[in-house]
């Protein structure tokens, strides 16, 4: 597996895989969208608002999965110093933040007709909001530090500290919410999801995952190209400063 840690090999592998992954993404998302948004029945209680679930739930899953992936990549980068793990963690952060934002926005859109409020300080909403800020902090740290290697290591430390903190944050927010039970919030997760909803939902989740892989590969490739461009530019700058043999001769003569 560490064979792919070689950027060169990664580039050729990902270049070959990318069209296939992208095609799978389009098919999965397309089928799941038609299935979930058109073909599947409306809920007898929630009506058509239930369809928001097909966009919302996989986004919330991916929001957490992306943080796990980011923390895992950060761990690998910190321990073994793999350059690619750094690139993967950096490329994951904006995707995770977007999934988190999507989950928050769609949750809010669903909450208005269902709960009667755009936002309620429910434990889950609140901890997802904190997760969103953790992503923002991680991205801010990357962009604040110019030295790439140092930025990568610091960001990796931050991601791991955040990963240790996430369960504590989750637990504290649950505690906080039960303490403030006065403004009660409906529990939404019904008993068990019927299969007519479950299958399109799972398909959508697979589509999201494929989308993540596609975008991750694209972002990683872009990042590596940028690094190579920068390195090439630096080489060129160094070479152009060094006096070439001819000019050296001419000044002698």
């Amino acid at each position: 597996m560490f064979g792919f840690a070689n950027p060169q090999r990664f580039m050729s592998f990902s270049g070959a895989a990318l069209p296939w992954v992208a095609a799978v993404t389009v098919i999965l998302l397309g089928v799941a969208a038609v299935w979930g948004l058109v073909l599947s029945p409306a809920d007898y209680q929630q009506g058509d608002t239930v369809r928001i679930m097909y966009v919302h739930v996989p986004a919330a899953w991916m929001a957490m999965a992306c943080y796990a992936a980011m923390a895992g990549a950060s761990f690998v980068s910190l321990i073994w110093g793999h350059a690619l793990a750094d690139v993967a963690a950096k490329a994951t952060a904006p995707l995770g933040a977007t999934f988190t934002g999507l989950a928050l926005v769609t949750g809010s859109l669903w909450g208005k007709p269902t709960w009667g409020a755009w936002w309620v300080w429910d434990a889950r909403l609140t901890s997802v909001l904190v997760l969103f800020f953790l992503y923002l902090g991680y991205m801010a740290l990357w962009s604040a530090i110019d030295d790439r290697i140092r930025a990568g290591r610091l960001a990796a430390i931050l991601a791991l500290v955040g990963a240790i903190n996430l369960p504590v944050i989750k637990f504290s927010v649950d505690f906080w919410n039960t303490l403030h039970q006065g403004t009660s919030v409906l529990r939404v997760d019904g008993p068990s999801l019927d299969t007519v909803f479950l299958y399109p939902l799972l398909m959508m989740a697979l589509g999201y995952m494929a989308l993540y892989v596609t975008l991750l590969l694209m972002r990683m490739r872009t990042e590596i190209w940028q690094q190579q461009t920068r390195a090439a530019a630096r080489r060129q700058a160094v070479e152009s400063e060094r006096p070439s043999p001819q000019t050296a001769e001419s000044t002698n003569g």
Partner: protein, 212 residues
């Protein structure tokens, strides 16, 4: 151990000029709060513990950006690293000094501000105890982010984005145990201990990256 106390003594000496700022910020924050929400004593009594905790967290935040900055800039960290002393000890010493000089005054003044927000008797004790137990966690967690931003010229805004989400558990358990006379105090202690266990290593790892 000797090195730890040497760092502690040095930093407490150095802090002699700066400690009043966080305290002033804290007192001002609590003073402004009634101006924003109105002078209703019943409302103030309800908001009081939470607002004092929020004030303590923000006062900690504004005091953090100088925690390592000067030592990274003037090369003290390099020197300490050369001397063979583990940076973890430096972190422990500096966090202890930070808490004793900057945060402890807030904890001492907080009951007085609590009285001004119409807190009485048991509520004041709960507030003081929760602050004493929980604020070390703020220093420890803040130290990690301060160590990360130490080399940055404009670390302040970045620092707050990094550190405030990590303050969430401390703030929740702290304000809850202050408001409910002790409920959540055990969790607050657990957060302090956990952050004390993680912070020296994470802070030291971040500091090492600033040493060239």
């Amino acid at each position: 151990m000797k090195a730890l106390f040497a760092i502690l003594a040095r930093d407490m000496g150095l802090a002699r000029q700066g400690w009043g700022l966080a305290l002033g910020f804290f007192a001002l924050f609590v003073t402004l709060m009634p101006l924003a929400v109105g002078p209703n004593l019943e409302v103030l009594r309800q908001l009081g513990p939470g607002m004092i905790w929020l004030g303590a967290a923000l006062a900690t935040l504004i005091s953090l950006d100088r925690l390592y900055q000067a030592d990274v800039e003037d090369g003290s960290v390099d020197q300490l690293l050369l001397s063979g002393m583990p940076l973890e000890v430096l972190v422990l010493g500096k966090v202890a000094a930070h808490w004793l000089t900057t945060i402890l005054p807030l904890v001492i003044v907080a009951p007085l501000l609590g009285v001004m927000l119409n807190l009485e008797g048991q509520a004041l004790w709960a507030l003081a105890i929760s602050l004493a137990v929980g604020t070390p966690a703020l220093s420890f967690i803040g130290s990690i982010a301060a160590a990360m931003t130490a080399g940055q010229r404009r670390g302040g805004p970045l620092l707050s984005i990094l550190v405030l989400p990590l303050f969430v558990p401390t703030l929740i358990f702290g304000a809850a145990s202050a408001a409910s006379s002790g409920e959540g105090l055990a969790f607050l202690g657990a957060v302090t201990l956990l952050s004390a266990a993680i912070s020296p290593f994470a802070s030291a790892a971040a500091l090492r990256l600033h040493v060239s």
